[in-house]
């Protein structure tokens, strides 16, 4: 060895593998305005489509007159449900087993529903055309309140389902009923409540909100009549699923459909499902023979595609006097709007809401979910959460605080008392999940120590006394949240989308010079896959991450995958990457053995190559092995160094975390200040700590927005009143609190690299922390539960109702 020989540390560092705070490679183009988004796609002769939308929440469509619109210069066609019927596309299937109108077929069922699609030579002409389409409506009584949807005299929304007393998920109780889903042991749970020493019951609502990515939903469809091929550029979180859905509903051969998802400006669940815009643009392209672009504007995005949440959760907990939980009973009324357009795995009408037992050792539990129709936009999607997990986390974390209040116990102590213990893992929950791993007590105690929890409680006590003496108008709240997520959908034994198992995939091709390309079935929308996937490969096979190009989003080149949402990319595709890399490594080992003239078993992997055990100078680098793979493989071996892996995970992963929010509220104005927010996340093995931190910051900012004001609100007659960022709370850097992040590491025992996923944890755990802080602030004035969102005027209203303001 001479001085130039790199040390082990230097060799390790050169890889920028797992654990490295590698800078995001995609940011080089994003920060220079060189991203390539769908709206950047401009094809020769491209036309533009835009929608005529309903001003009514519920009405019969009597007549659509397009004659004036067709006279507008540049307008080429007006597509209606009648046009779509000629190709059997007036309705489309939803991922939840329902069907959805593509364009109003006889009726409109929510305000801003798509009624007609105007195709024109440019976007301005299309909009001018829209304003000339005359639609005659006969208004019908709107159904806005989900609690009234199953009333005897409720207006029937879905005439297509009248008389069908069974849906995709079993029997229907009412024309406006979609499904009832029950889990758990009812008898045992009822018995636990009958003999409980203490019980609580509260209707906890998680209001309707929206993922609202900065880039709205959009596509360019281009049909080649000669080849019979359809190319779709779109903002798709799951490009392969879109390809298969198009093949099934448009009856096109799947090899003739090319789906390309270029750079995506945020998804958060908004871009999983299929929307009328995609179908209309495709049909318009088939009809006109020209490429057709459809780009949603902000109002359309907020009011027509994919809301989230809208769960009304009647929550009951049974416990002993000293605070040991003995039973959980939850009934959910789920408002799906006009069509059940959830993007859940097909067999899960309420997603994984049965994670609602949370981090606690409930001996028994029972859950029932009723899905209903209302005159609102269809959904609801998983907004930065694994299917309905954020609703479940909010439900149980609010419930535990309410129980603590009733027991006069500290909410952190109550949680510590009821946590699943480390030795109980793998833990079988009362509602049917097998939690893979966790160490909740350590995480909770670390949170309490780091934040000085006890001192904060003391300060709160003093402030409350001062408030009662009239010395301050500010109240202080501590919001504790301890969440357990269930992510990584999912094992084929319980997860599929339209019959396709929810595996994911990776293909790696190493090039002769020690570089390579990796392609995945996932699709980054900001998660930084191009950076982190390469880091996994770097560590697994000893090639620098910089030498690995990551490509996603083109269904012609990427292996089939189910896409990116539900924090599934790292748990599922991340595993596929490691497995594919290990196949590469296995072949590399054979090549190295041949070249070093030893038996394979005599080799050990050492950072960036193979070394003969006991003979440290006999070493072959992965770079050299790549070269050898293309010119001197062992006799009988195929040349090349490539591998594909399709990974069907054996179980979900269960990230968890302990959050604390410290908030001060001015009762006179309702204005709050988030004084501190501490987030400890355990996502198992940490691939890139900087990206994790970024993900946590982003998710917490969304959680802050949702809890403190972000909502999709309808007035009493079904008008949606939050159609722009003026009223739909989108915090800027000024409003966003400072985030303190921390972690523990409890690797997943069944995942090849022990990683669990993190992207959604902060949204899931953050919302209850904020809401618990507000509720905790007001609790000493006599309230048990104040519904979200906690914006200024609602805080003031709470204070007023509690007698704290005149």
């Amino acid at each position: 060895m001479n001085d130039m020989t790199p040390t082990r540390e230097q060799r390790e560092a050169a890889l920028e593998g797992m654990g490295c705070k590698r800078k995001r490679v995609e940011d080089i183009r994003f920060t220079q305005g060189k991203g390539n988004y769908v709206d950047d796609v401009k094809l020769p002769g491209m036309l533009h489509g835009d929608f005529v939308r309903s001003p009514h929440p519920h009405a019969r469509v009597q007549k659509i007159d397009d004659s004036e619109a067709l006279k507008v210069p540049g307008v080429l066609a007006v597509i209606t449900a009648e046009t779509l019927k000629t190709v059997n596309l007036a309705w489309m299937p939803t991922l939840a087993g329902d069907v959805q109108m593509v364009l109003a077929d006889g009726k409109v069922l929510f305000q801003n529903q798509e009624v007609a699609f105007v195709v024109a030579t440019d976007r301005y002409a299309a909009d001018d055309g829209i304003n000339k389409v005359i639609v005659e409506y006969e208004p019908l009584p709107p159904l806005v309140d989900p609690f009234k949807s199953m009333d005897k005299d409720a207006p029937v929304l879905r005439e297509d389902l009248v008389g069908k007393m069974s849906g995709a998920h079993g029997p229907r109780k009412h024309d406006n009923h979609i499904f009832e889903w029950t889990v758990g042991d009812k008898e045992l749970t009822d018995a636990a409540f009958n003999k409980a020493e203490v019980t609580i019951k509260e209707m906890i609502s998680y209001h309707r909100t929206h993922p609202s990515p900065l880039e709205t939903c959009q596509c360019v469809c281009s049909f080649d009549k000669i080849k019979g091929e359809l190319t779709i550029y779109g903002t798709f979180q799951a490009p392969h699923v879109i390809r298969t859905v198009v093949a099934l509903i448009a009856k096109l051969p799947e090899q003739k459909i090319h789906v390309i998802a270029p750079d995506i400006g945020g998804g958060f669940g908004n871009k999983v499902g299929a929307y009328p815009g995609y179908i209309c643009a495709a049909v318009a392209s088939i009809v006109t023979g020209k490429p057709v672009k459809w780009v949603e504007d902000r109002i359309e995005n907020l009011t027509a595609t994919s809301f989230a949440r809208d769960y009304h959760m009647t929550t009951e907990i049974a416990a002993t006097k000293d605070g040991k939980v003995t039973g959980l009973r939850v009934h959910v009324l789920a408002d799906h709007g006009a069509f059940d357009a959830c993007a859940d795995p097909s067999k899960w009408p309420a997603g994984f809401f049965n994670i609602v037992t949370g981090s606690y050792d409930f001996p028994t539990a029972h859950l029932a979910v009723d899905g209903v129709y209302t005159n609102k936009a269809p959904g609801g999607v998983a907004y930065r959460c694994s299917f309905r997990v954020t609703e479940a986390a909010y439900c149980i974390e609010r419930g535990m605080d309410i129980l603590a209040q009733k027991l006069k116990m500290d909410p952190a102590e109550l949680r510590l008392k009821n946590f699943i213990k480390p030795e109980q893992f793998p833990y079988h929950s009362a509602l049917g999940w097998e939690y893979d791993s966790g160490d909740y007590h350590t995480a909770m105690r670390k949170m309490m120590e780091t934040t000085g929890y006890a001192a904060l409680r003391k300060e709160q006590e003093e402030k409350r006394a001062a408030f009662k003496r009239g010395e301050t108008r500010e109240i202080m709240g501590l919001g504790v949240s301890f969440f357990t997520e269930i992510v990584g959908a999912g094992p084929s034994k319980n997860c599929d989308i339209l019959g396709i198992a929810m595996f994911d995939s990776c293909e790696i091709r190493m090039h002769p010079t020690g570089a390579g390309i990796a392609r995945m079935g996932t699709k980054s929308q900001g998660q930084g896959h191009e950076t982190t996937w390469a880091q996994i490969i770097a560590t697994e096979i000893g090639i620098p991450a910089d030498n690995i190009m990551v490509e996603e989003g083109n269904t012609d080149t990427a292996p089939y995958g189910l896409g990116t949402y539900g924090s599934r990319s790292t748990p599922v595709a991340g595993a596929a990457i490691a497995m594919a890399a290990r196949k590469i490594k296995a072949k590399a080992q054979m090549i190295a053995a041949y070249k070093l003239e030893v038996h394979e078993d005599d080799l050990e992997f050492d950072i960036d190559g193979f070394r003969v055990k006991g003979l440290p100078e006999k070493f072959m680098s992965m770079k050299d092995i790549c070269w050898a793979a293309y010119n001197s493989v062992p006799p009988g071996m195929e040349p090349g160094l490539e591998a594909v892996s399709y990974y069907d995970p054996p179980n979900m992963t269960y990230p968890f975390g302990a959050y604390l929010c410290v908030m001060d509220i001015d009762v006179d104005t309702g204005v709050y200040k988030v004084r501190r927010f501490y987030a400890l996340d355990d996502c198992g093995t940490r691939i890139n700590p900087m990206i994790i931190e970024g993900q946590v910051h982003g998710g917490l900012t969304e959680a802050f927005a949702i809890a403190m004001g972000q909502e999709i609100r309808y007035d009493d007659v079904g008008n949606v009143v939050t159609g722009s960022f003026m009223d739909f709370f989108m915090p800027t850097a000024v409003e966003t609190p400072h985030w303190e992040t921390d972690f523990t590491v409890t690797p997943s025992p069944h995942h090849p690299i022990g990683a669990k996923g993190v992207g959604e944890s902060p949204n899931v755990g953050g919302v209850p922390a904020f809401s618990n802080a507000v509720n905790d602030a007001f609790s000493f004035l006599g309230s048990t539960h104040i519904q979200m969102p906690h914006d200024f005027w609602r805080n003031w209203k709470a204070a007023k109702e509690l007698g704290a303001v005149a």
């Binding site: 301005y124 304003n131 009143v721 003026m726 709370f729 989108m730 000024v734």
Partner: protein, 287 residues
Amino acid sequence: MIPGPFSYHRPASVADAVKLLSDLGEDARPLAGGHSLVPMMKLRLATPAHLIDLHGIAALKGISRNGNNLVIGAMTTQHELLASDDVAKSMPILHEAALLIADPQVRYRGTIGGNVANGDPGNDMPALMMTLGATYRLEGASGARDVPAADFYQGAYFTALEPGEILTSVSVPVPAAGHGYAYEKLKRKVGDYATAAAAVVLTMSGGKVATCTIGLTNVHETPLLAADAAKAVIGTGLDAATLKKAAAAAEAIMAPAADARGPVEYRKHVGGIMVTRALQRAASRAK
């Protein structure tokens, strides 16, 4: 969110602009920073057939002194107001309020003329101009006239501007040396219009309020002067009872609309609090 068709004109003088406006009639609208007008056009709530862009008129720009008045050209941007040392020194409340308008991007484009001529009760400048006793110069085919800000606002988006007239400048008397001032604005986030806001300019003498003017933003279909509230504080040391009385007098003239910022009752309540806080802060600044 795509505007309808319109034609675009860029005159080089006030005379040309006025001529275009009177020739083209009701279908023509002046375009200043476009940050109120263009959003309305995108929603097709405004569908002017002609836009008369005022950016080509050099005479509409800049801040100058005329005796004891600051004269601000209509096309002076909010950013330029913030950059002016004269404004910061002699009329600090204008600086303070301009900083609470929207965000830097909007302030780079939005103009004082557009802000005060728009007639939107949500705009911050109108109530402030009333508080400061400003006068607007309006120029039309039949010449120029000066209208006090206090007489300008007639209803939401209804002002004393006659068809064919352009607001060319705003003349603001410099408040007395040693005056106290405050603009208190409650908003939900950066870029939001006021849930309620109050402007206070006062002078103190011997610990008592000597003179006081109070303006209110976004609590009525027009900006308001809270004369009774101002009267209630004159001669007092702003003790708790007086502040309460002033807030109540101000609330009595408020008639905000319920919107996503809150119900009527809340907006009036916080309107009163903005008055109280502005009075206290103004008094603490007075010399």
